[in-house]
Symmetry: C3
Subunit: 619 residues, 3 copies
């Protein structure tokens, strides 16, 4: 595994570049990621390029022995691009323009901006097409950051209508698929369709789902346009993009299909603070991150990546600037996170950023160097991690368990939670945690992924079930856990005529005849477990597995398949998963709650999130 760093030479005097490069190499770094926000320096005036400085940067870094990951600068078009076509910015859900002054101020559907993005991408790609220092290209930066995938602009509306016509053929078919007869929402032509925002009450969930799919497709095609140019101009280099944490605005399986390596940006402390963890977890793990945050994304994006190639393109090295509160990692955590990425199979961990920039939006974001160029604590940890890695020789992943996840599932549960906060992503996270607490290796896989080699598969919440998944599960000889809402919808958000779990009914041994969602405080209690949040009434041949004191059945068993009728979370899903692990012949005793394992090749990595220690054992 390589170590690298994100570097912004345009922030620093040219006289510093060689020293920075030398120090990077001395730290054990072999990769450097540059360029993705530098449009205003590459093309300071329309059509007038200034390549000199960037040429010298590339040569200097290459000369020092660093492999360069070069970004296309399309996430930050300069003001003159926007002023030339003010309607290129996205409109938010309330119809307000999302203007210049930070970043990502463009609508993915705007043809004019697409042309500008292609032009600058080609310019950069042609400039460094065969430079030996360039080892990879990165497209844009963090698609969707700051909630930028959805745009409610006229450009998006027009593109959406074309997309709908393409998908549905006739408007009658769209009306039928969406059930538009309800509330007289029937359209007479695709030109009557509006975007689903600013309706009096919520729009048709089918309308929203189509818009989410369309918005995702726009990202994928925007990216594909850059990929095509880069492949044409600079063949032989890997192409990557940096995904984010707990972000589902576009379908990462689709995006990754056009990339060689899927990267992601790992900020365990920031994510802990900003996402759905309990107050107690946020306090307890404030300086180390919840033990499953980084691993979950490693495994998720490995599962998304074509050929399983993935990396960490940004790794938190100290406090960040963007969370509600911004504590520092415990000494040892940066090294631990680095080795954890290795244990999960990363090709690269790249720290963000080399040196803290004293100005602008991220001035409070730590780097490996302080603003005054003295070492920040993470520099020594990166050096230590480089030493650790020198003695590790790789090794194949070990398959034990898999969690099935799709982006459409998350969109659908966001569009129609039915019970507040019940989302497929977090169902997956909780199931993943349950498996991890047993010390298991976990893969997070696409619904159509082969299941060979696993002993246990969990389908936490998957409204749309494909024939491939059904066939794979039927052929599968391990244990299966299926959670609520699975098989509850057709491709257009309709309830299937045979009700949930539809095609999974034979496997589950039952049909869901009624679904309830429950507020906090309502629960089914059993011995040592408490199930809550959701309750499916199941009828069929399956046998009750967990029955609460109230007489309600919280989980069902039918051969190799368990059906979780309550929301997969907490002590309840821990128990269901542990029982399935037991039946699968897997380890099933929980680890200490601050400890996690990962086996790669013949090594078992033991990560302790309380002491920030890593132990490497024989597996």
């Amino acid at each position: 595994m390589d170590l690298g760093v994100c570097y912004y030479p345009e922030h620093w005097p040219e006289t510093r570049w060689a020293e920075d490069a030398r120090l990077m190499r001395e730290t054990g770094l072999t990769r450097v990621r540059i360029g993705e926000f530098a449009w205003s320096r590459i093309e300071p005036e329309p059509g007038k390029f200034d390549w000199g400085w960037l040429d010298r940067v590339v040569d200097t870094l290459h000369a020092a022995g660093l492999g360069i990951i070069m970004g296309t600068p399309t996430a930050t078009p300069p003001k003159w691009v926007v002023d030339a076509m003010p309607d290129m910015v996205a409109l938010d859900r309330n119809g307000r323009p999302r203007g210049f002054g930070s970043r990502r101020h463009y609508c993915f559907s705007h043809a004019g901006y697409r042309a500008q993005a292609a032009r600058i991408t080609r310019a950069v790609a042609e400039r460094y097409d065969q430079h030996p220092g360039i080892v990879s290209w990165q497209t844009d930066n963090e698609y969707g950051c700051h909630d930028t995938v959805q745009s409610f602009s006229p450009a998006a509306r027009d593109a959406f209508r074309l997309w709908l016509a393409e998908r549905y053929g006739t408007v009658a078919d769209l009306n039928e698929a969406w059930g538009n007869v309800f509330w007289s929402m029937e359209y007479r032509s695709f030109d009557e369709v509006e975007l689903p925002n600013l309706t009096v009450t919520e729009a048709n969930p089918a309308h929203w789902l189509a818009f989410r799919r369309f918005s995702s497709d726009q990202v994928v095609s925007f990216n594909k346009a850059q990929v095509d140019i880069l492949r044409e101009c600079s063949p032989g280099r890997d192409i990557t993009h940096n995904a984010m944490g707990f972000y589902t605005g576009y379908d990462h399986h689709d995006l990754a299909a056009d990339l060689d390596v899927l990267g992601w940006d790992s900020y365990p402390l920031g994510f802990l603070e900003m996402f759905r963890f309990t107050e107690e977890q946020k306090r307890r793990f404030a300086h180390s991150g919840h033990p499953d945050i980084a691993a979950f994304h490693h495994d998720l994006y490995r599962g998304c990546a074509k050929d399983g190639r993935w990396s960490v393109l940004e790794q938190q090295p100290g406090p960040v600037n963007w969370a509600r509160h911004n504590p520092a990692p415990l000494p040892g955590m940066v090294r631990l996170w680095t080795l954890e990425a290795y244990a999960h199979g990363a090709e690269l961990v790249s720290y963000f950023r080399w040196r803290q920039f004293p100005k602008a939006q991220e001035q409070m974001h730590a780097g490996l160097l302080r603003p005054d160029a003295t070492p920040a604590p993470a520099l020594a940890e990166a050096r230590a991690a480089a030493d650790d890695l020198a003695s590790l020789e790789g090794g194949a992943p070990v398959k034990q368990s898999a969690v099935v996840f799709s982006y459409a599932a998350e969109w659908m549960t966001q569009i129609q939670p039915q019970g507040e906060g019940k989302s497929a992503l977090w169902a997956a996270f909780h199931c993943y945690s349950a498996l991890r607490r047993l010390g298991l290796n976990v893969d997070i896989v696409h619904p159509d992924a082969p299941l060979d080699g696993y002993a246990l598969v969990v389908v936490p919440c998957l409204p749309i079930v494909s024939d491939t998944l059904v066939a794979n599960l039927e052929a599968f000889d391990g244990q299966v856990v299926i959670g609520p809402r699975s098989g509850s919808r057709d491709m257009d958000f309709g309830i299937p005529p045979t009700l949930a779990p539809d095609k999974l009914e034979a496997l589950v041994g039952g049909r869901v005849v009624l679904s309830e969602s429950w507020r906090p405080g309502l629960a089914i209690e059993g011995d040592g477990w408490l199930a809550s949040g959701w309750f499916d009434h199941v009828e069929g041949a399956a046998a009750p597995e967990l029955t609460g004191r109230c007489g309600r059945v919280a989980s069902w068993q039918h051969g190799k398949v368990r059906y979780a009728a309550c929301w997969p979370e907490g002590s309840y899903i821990d128990l269901v998963v542990a029982r399935a692990a037991y039946d699968a012949g897997l380890p099933h005793d929980p680890l200490a709650d601050h400890v996690r394992h990962r086996v790669r090749g013949d090594r078992r990595f033991v990560f302790d999130y309380e002491s920030a220690q890593v132990t490497i054992q024989q597996a």
Copy 2:
């Protein structure tokens, strides 16, 4: 009492209609409500009507022996209506259009839409004018749902100016009535008056009150236009409309004056979840609904209805889709709710809906049938309720106590709560609950309603007091409880020269010289009671009734009248009301907190919200 169901034949194949009708009759239903969202099927293109399908529906249902309640489809104008006049939609408080894509996308003040609504109403009314299957007409659907009464559009502004000119005559009179000299808000003509939104800080409360009255009047006149057409085209049928729960956007007394029967839509579980109940109540009654929710509205709308004729046009049959969490009712609750409506004097309970529709916004809303046409739990309960009703022979209402409520009171306390969350509707609800917990029959009456026959009258919070009410109370020989803010305002939101309670001063035996509102945690404590939220300083001849340990007087007594100086809620108002009941010779011992009674004729209905049981005793 009839039982009925809401039916959307346009959602289902024509081949199913006869079977549905047969099954309705078999279930004991005699009424079926149709048509209110079917505009796009009735008139798929401008001016091109398709009556065939609806003719066959009407004939099929009629042939099965069902009486039809036909809705005008004006709540869901098709897209082509909106596209012909895009300014017909309402603007929200922030000036954003509330567009097509769900329902109720119209501004009540838009002349163009009023013409369209009249046209489609006349078309439907003329088509089925004397069809023997039609027993009633319903106008539109749930006026105000999704907060749609107020519109801040140019059409509304222009209509508001005319309304003001009509009401005030001269702008000088308006300036004087509103106190516009304050902050130099004086207008020189009605054309200078804007709507009260988007002001720098809050607009004049008098301005808001006028706008609330105007907005209510627009609903009433919109409805009246349909009523006039229906009476002209289809005489001899009842005309109804379906009101909602805890909704006060328009004056239901005014609307009901133009209807024969006032209906309402009863969703006890959804309302519990979404409205101002404590977390503890929301958990405890999650599967049954707070014991006073349905009854409160039965009694409220009976009091609004002309001649007291009212019905439940929609009754929750299972989980709904629109609350934050959506649990299922306990087995027995659907039957209990049905009998409760009977006990309060309903003419009809109509379940919503016949069959769960697998698509669009309400796909998670239960029906009597599941989406696959198999029976949902409520079907058998409807059948059981039909059997119960067969053995009940009606009987006159029994008068014991009355709560006085006006919509203007609620508007005023919303406009100017003075203490967070202190509203007249909820004051009324808490007083109602206090009376109900004593096992009393309660009527909720208009301020000008006669008070004969009651032993106890509560006026929870009535800023504007009419001469009629004063005269009625003076003549009344029972006990009276009057709550804070009563008599505190004139017709234009001004404090009367004699201060509160103004015309009630002689009855109360005191004058309110100072009013405080208190944050949670501040209270007057006595033996077994705790008064909070509000505190009126009273001076006059009245005697202290409840004095706290701090020496403050929480309630006063003067002859037959008690004055509640604190917010009418909790143990405090329970005690004040129980003491008044005692003095009135009424039952005054509290029932178990999950039990409620209602006497109709010679029967006493005992409803248990814990076990979902109904017991019918001799009264």
Copy 3:
């Protein structure tokens, strides 16, 4: 000290004026403040003035022996002013116009409104230029009330560009100062700069800081224009303006530089309810106000005022209408607040308002008279305070301790809190409280103020440190406490090359190499103290003073200087301040938590916020 009252003669019949004036005098009042909302009565039609009524008011009040404070009416332009130039209103952060219908509906940058404001100011000033009744002029009313300083209008944008050009000279210098290379935010001309709202994610903090400075400067120049007219037309009168509580929208040091006397509006109960106090404090002091609220502002505005001349232009006399909850003060509090203002050196306390107006937005705001003209409780307290004052002979302020505060510090911590809710104003308030609880006199001073005469100086949180402050602190021979973020920024929000505390490093004896912000629940615990919220890692010669059980150092000591590495709040800052007071030879034992002292001349005033008692002792 004078006592006065705010009076709106335009609300009452002319026949009442003389009686009101007589009663004011009888109450012991000598000043009356009028006119600031009366534009629509002074100029009911464009250019048509009606001076008669106001002439008679002025004569009547003067004849009664009252000195008049006359306000310019520019806070409430009549509707015809707005209709003549609809773009004069401010746009809010979301781009929505903030329209007519309440008050302060103008953008400070609108040239047309500036002309109107100058015109009406000149008209009033010329009318009463040398009237013997006029003792002072007040400009406008509560600049910034209802968040009106910032406007995002085209007028503001254009003015901002000019302001930037003036400040930075070249756009290259602006780009460099702001670090606009980051995210390609570089501008090619000042005309490319937009306002910092409606960006995709947060704008550059340097951009925001410039906009905050600009917005403040617009207030100052708007005010200056009126001051110039008033000085020209009516020389010899004091000019004042009324500032607000906990309000920092403009730089009050800058505004006060153009005024003779800085006034402020004191609403202790309303402020307690609406600002950042704990639930426990809000309950405990609901009827008296937190003991430091009024005093903090007295000392803050005395420090802002030119020559230290300040007054209370509005004093809460009973419940207000604008807080979430509005309780009444304890009997005695109005007198206590009045004497407290005296003890802190006020020239005037003016009660708001004379008589409660029964209509419009503030109808629930108490006065000295009730709406019916009978005395409200505060009238007798004003009378008692007048008697108290008659026996007090003034006396010089006594210097003990000082807190350093700048408005830019508050803007910067609002723009970039880094940890939720960590703001310089509240850091100052907590340090002030810590000093006050020791019974000390506290001054709140500008960063460049001389420090002679103090024994203890606290710099709670001052990102930008001037050379003057450094020199003053170096020369200072008392004790110093410096808090986090001090010296952490340059003038344009950049981190200085030598890191924090930059120029203070020699004094502090250390450098801050890393800053963390911590969520509630994370803390450093020691014996009897708990430090939280923020944690600076310090390296240097300073010695640890307070070290937690976890080994982290919460405060450092270096000669006379202590550095608080945690957020200055709670038991932690109380202890640090008490230790510094001890070293300074000042009293250092805490008073009872509901008691505060203030020494003026040879008198010690002891205020008890539990019993609402004032005791006056020999100092």
